[in-house]
């Protein structure tokens, strides 16, 4: 779609949308949100970009093919369960690494890795569909 207004607005919005999608994903551990909804939002941000600037521009913006996102997401999501096996716990048991750095308490965990995996899979799947339709 060739519209100056949509293009300018999209270029401003996309950064906010992507940032908000990451925020949603991180928030998901204790509050409504999570990898799935975050991934949907990120995918719609890229889809908006594709509508405003064309399919080719969106593919360039993404840098990697969406199928690669599915692959890495799947690997992260499934792989996150293996941290538990190293500890001798059942598959997918949450493992936590909590430490203080730069005056802040950091909480790294295997559920976070899992959520990042879900996020990537959702972005990859939705964009595979969007790009396939846009190509027509």
């Amino acid at each position: 779609m060739n519209s100056v207004i949509l293009r300018s607005a999209t270029n401003l919005l996309i950064a906010v949308l992507l940032l908000f999608s990451v925020f949603l994903m991180l928030r998901g551990h204790d509050l409504p949100g999570g990898g799935f909804i975050g991934g949907l939002l990120a995918a719609s941000a890229v889809a908006l970009y594709a509508i405003a600037n064309g399919h080719r521009a969106a593919v360039r913006l993404l840098r990697v093919p969406p199928q690669a996102l599915i692959a890495w997401g799947l690997a992260l999501g499934v792989g996150a369960g293996f941290f538990a096996l190293l500890q001798g716990d059942p598959y997918l048991t949450g493992q936590w690494l909590i430490f203080a750095f730069a005056g802040v308490e950091w909480k790294l965990s295997s559920p976070l890795v899992f959520d990042v995996g879900v996020y990537l899979v959702v972005v990859g799947v939705v964009l595979t569909m969007v790009f396939a339709l846009e190509e027509r």
Partner: protein, 502 residues
């Protein structure tokens, strides 16, 4: 260690990820896909060994204790099914190396094949009703992709019927799952086995009928089978062989699980319905096959009639009947998957799936004829092949239960199966090739490898049936004693509530 229990699902999923990353490199994809299928088989055999030695294996995902989290449970039945799915996956993965055109491979045959495997194995191993629904969806969606891969007209036609009917089944399954949760407040199957007997019996029977319809569509029983012969003959052989071997059997597995663990409160009613379903399934399947003249369509109708035997064993609900069901499942998956692969070889040699256009294969390729005879006569139940023992056990269970009518049906259906198999033999192998067809010599040798391996397995099951019967016996014993399953998942107190021995 819990890794053997999750490996049959986790391995295909990781393989999918690797295959997506290798999407431009077909040769690497083939290597990874075949290796992973073989590794999956090894893992499954290790799992079966664990179950044989140490009893029912349980994993609580994420360490959330049952019934709140998702449990994976491997009893003998689950482990046997996972092993046999590993066998079929390996055979088909090898066959696909030479059967598929690069266009279909580039569209993603290999990764989707492994998603399908994850779905199948997940369905066999899960101990949670809603999780079972999820795995059914995983395998349904991936099978839809495989079915229509390549976009040929008849594929899409078959695919639409397949998906429409299976979505209805999923919908009923989901609704029934919701109702179960509303009734009992739990979805863990072991917990359900404890809580369903306390619920209103009329409600439980209604629920059981909803599940019968939902799983019955997946298993292609009478009168819900019409989607199967409409779709199974359309995709490439490497796809239809795994469908024919495994997919309906996931439905049969779910039926066995549901009607031995969950819905055993009113056996006189529910299992009598199953008995009639079984009889009619056998009969309609075999009669449908008699009217067909396309290699894979005949085989498709025979899937239906054979599923009748498995349901018959379940419906009798005796130790011998269930033993027969489990043994029949194993025998049937090997034989039927192999027959589809043979159909592929016949087409590669003779150029068609239509019996009218085939001929002279015996003279041209005696080996192929032998490879057809082994599974075909096993399917028909010739001694001493695997199908004979399978039928013998089911028929004997029927005699012990004094179901003379259904035993008669089973025997007549066996005879009619011979008729169909001799029809294929006559038309494709015995009569000379029709005018104007040339039989090819350039069929890749690798295509024969899985067919020979599966035929040998059929012979092994036939001649050394002892260990296989012993395994089926162990599965049947566990199935008739739900307290063991419940005890393994929820602990001895819950099992004591059921009044059995854990």
């Amino acid at each position: 260690m819990s890794w053997v229990l999750v490996a049959p699902v986790v391995l295909p999923l990781l393989t999918t990820a690797a295959l997506f990353l290798l999407r431009e490199r077909l040769e690497a994809q083939r290597v990874v896909s075949t290796t992973s299928a073989a590794l999956g088989l090894v893992a499954a055999i290790v799992l079966l060994g664990r179950v044989s030695d140490g009893g029912i294996q349980v994993v609580q995902f994420g360490n959330w204790s049952a019934p709140f989290g998702i449990s994976f449970v491997a009893d003998h039945l689950s482990a046997i099914m996972v092993v046999i799915s590993g066998v079929m996956a390996t055979a088909v993965a090898v066959y696909a190396l030479r059967d598929l055109d690069p266009a279909r491979e580039r569209l993603g045959y290999h990764p989707v094949f492994h998603v399908l495997l994850a779905g199948i194995n997940g369905a066999f191993l899960t101990g949670d009703l809603f999780n079972l629904y999820v795995w059914f969806e995983v395998l349904l969606i991936s099978s839809f992709v495989l079915l229509t891969l390549g976009n040929r007209r008849e594929q899409l036609e078959g695919g639409v019927k397949y998906v429409a009917v299976n979505l209805v089944s999923s919908l009923i399954f989901l609704a029934a799952t919701g109702l179960v949760y509303g009734t009992t407040g739990t979805l863990n199957m072991a917990d359900l086995a404890v809580k369903l007997p306390q619920a209103d019996p009329a409600l439980v029977v209604t629920l059981s009928m909803l599940f019968l319809v939902a799983f019955g569509i997946k298993a292609a029983v009478f009168p819900l089978f019409f989607w199967l012969p409409a779709s199974y003959h359309t995709p490439p052989v490497a796809v239809s062989a795994i469908f024919a071997g495994m997919l309906t059997k996931v439905g049969v597995y779910a039926l066995i699980r549901a009607f031995t663990l969950l819905f055993v409160g009113d056996v006189a009613l529910t299992h009598t319905i199953l008995l009639w379903v079984a009889g009619l399934t056998m009969l309609t399947g075999v009669l449908g096959a008699a009217a067909q003249s396309e290699f894979r369509k005949i085989l498709s109708f025979h899937i239906i009639s054979q599923i009748g035997y498995m349901i018959l064993g379940l419906a009798l609900y005796t130790p011998l009947g269930l033993l027969g069901s489990v043994f029949y499942l194993v025998h049937h998956i090997v034989v039927k998957g192999n027959l589809f692969l043979v159909a592929g070889l016949a087409r590669a040699t003779g150029g068609s799936f239509e019996l009218a256009k085939l001929g002279g294969l015996y003279r041209h390729r005696p080996l192929l004829a032998v490879l057809f005879v082994v599974p075909a006569f096993s399917l028909a139940g010739f001694p001493p092949l695997s199908g004979f023992w399978a039928k013998l056990v089911v028929v004997r269970a029927g005699l012990e239960a004094r179901e003379w009518g259904f035993v008669a049906v089973a025997l007549v259906v066996g005879l009619l199966t011979i008729y169909s198999m001799t029809k294929i033999w006559q038309a494709a192998f015995w009569t000379p090739a029709p005018e104007g067809t040339t039989l090819r010599d350039d069929v890749p040798r690798l295509l024969y490898a899985p067919v020979i391996a599966l035929a040998l397995l059929t012979l092994v099951i036939g001649f050394w049936s002892g260990p296989f019967v012993a395994l089926a016996q162990a599965a049947a014993t566990e199935l008739l004693n739900p307290a063991a399953y419940v005890g393994a998942v929820l602990g001895p107190e819950a099992a004591a509530q059921l009044g059995g021995t854990p």
